[in-house]
Amino acid sequence: MVTERVARVQRVLEQVMDPELPFLTVTELGMIRGCSELEDGTIEILLTPTYSGCPATDAIQEDIEAALSPMETRFKIRVVHAPTWTTDWISDAAREKMRQNGIAPPEGSSADKAFLLGKAQEVPCPRCNGKDTKLVSPFGSTACKAHYQCNACAEPFDHFKCF
């Protein structure tokens, strides 16, 4: 049940930005998996990491704690691993924000394993929207991104991997 206290916490969580993608909230990225009031009145927030080793997970917990501290409500953050985080949880609006910030969003569904089967995935350039791009490295500036370059406008860019 969403009580008034839970709703207030949720509104605060919707303002917490991802430290690596500071134009997206942790809610938009699908990292908040639940928020509910326990029997003793504590608000429990379920957080799931994007990648197992994502160093931002600790920073995000600290940011949530800092954002909630003025509310003087008892809360705890529990890190959960199931169900496994997927880029399918990133909304179309959030994908559009990535594009506007120079990051090619994940294309399609995580069910598409094109890259893993050795096929090149079509990733349009976020700058010129050209479709003629090349994979420079499957591992980019953070665990969740691959490094691409546009053959048309030469823009190097990050692609948020379909995961």
């Binding site: 990648y51 197992s52 080793g53 199931a82 591992f139």
Partner: protein, 251 residues
């Protein structure tokens, strides 16, 4: 249902932790910027898997040891990783062959774990790890092919890497009381049971890479029971020195 002991979770965690430490030695030493970043990224994924697994192993053990206590305050004899992951990095080809051999094994093991229901906490960690290791496996296989089917020099170098590393692979498929208990509980199949599948996949990669599978009966084993090469001691000395010198230090 009674839960299995913590030793088997520790094995998974130790494999990931020791290989993460090895790969992170490449940070700022990679042959190209992209590969430097790739190897560091893979190390980070493995470290994340290790943290979750060691935390769970510590909880299961019930002696109050957390991930840090298990990573920093155990001796070499108390580590249960396979010998393969502690082999020094060597040159880039050595590292990438070691990675390919391990990735193909890790993928099979995590896939089996992710699909079982007897240990839901481990299944959740494994389901996440499967996604990550698929990327690692695609990367290491592509590099083995590129180097094996590359110049004469790169071919000869990675063929030699393969010859040196191959005897370490047998250990991955050995079973003892710990793995037999996992199999009996329906958590993991016997290690021996995915040897054939692993070999089939590795041979397919080697064929495309024009590399020969070494014909050897040499067998290097002992890691699961804490009998390691001297290389692990040096790796741990570097990894543990700060916490051993200033126990509980945080920054």
């Amino acid at each position: 249902m009674a839960k299995l002991g913590h030793e088997w979770i520790l094995r998974l965690g130790d494999d990931a932790l020791v290989l993460a430490q090895r790969l992170s030695e490449w940070c700022s030493h990679g042959p190209a910027l992209e590969e430097d970043i790739a190897l560091s990224n893979i190390a980070l994924d493995l470290l994340g898997q290790a943290r979750a697994l060691l935390t769970l192993a510590g909880e299961r053990e019930g002696q109050g040891r957390d991930e840090d206590a298990l990573a920093y305050f155990r001796t070499d004899r108390e580590f249960s990783n396979a010998l393969l992951v502690e082999v020094p990095n060597g040159h880039f080809g050595d590292t990438i062959v070691r990675q390919m051999l391990f990735d193909q094994f890790a993928l099979l093991r995590y896939e089996a774990l992710a699909g079982q229901s007897a240990e839901p906490e481990v299944a959740a960690i494994a389901a996440k790890a499967v996604k990550e290791v698929r990327y690692h496996a695609a990367h290491s296989a592509q590099w083995v092919v590129r180097l094996g089917d590359g110049t004469d020099e790169s071919h000869n170098k990675v063929q030699e890497s393969l010859n040196v590393l191959w005897p370490y692979t047998q250990e991955l498929f050995e079973d003892d009381a710990v793995s037999q208990a996992c199999a009996a509980a329906g958590v993991l199949p016997l290690n021996a049971s995915y040897h054939a599948r692993w070999k089939e996949q590795v041979l397919a990669i080697l064929e495309e890479a024009t590399l020969n599978c070494p014909e050897t009966s040499a067998l290097l084993t002992g890691g699961r029971e804490g009998k390691h090469t001297e290389h692990l001691s040096y790796l741990l000395a570097e990894m543990q020195v700060l916490q051993r010198t200033y126990p509980g230090a945080k920054w």
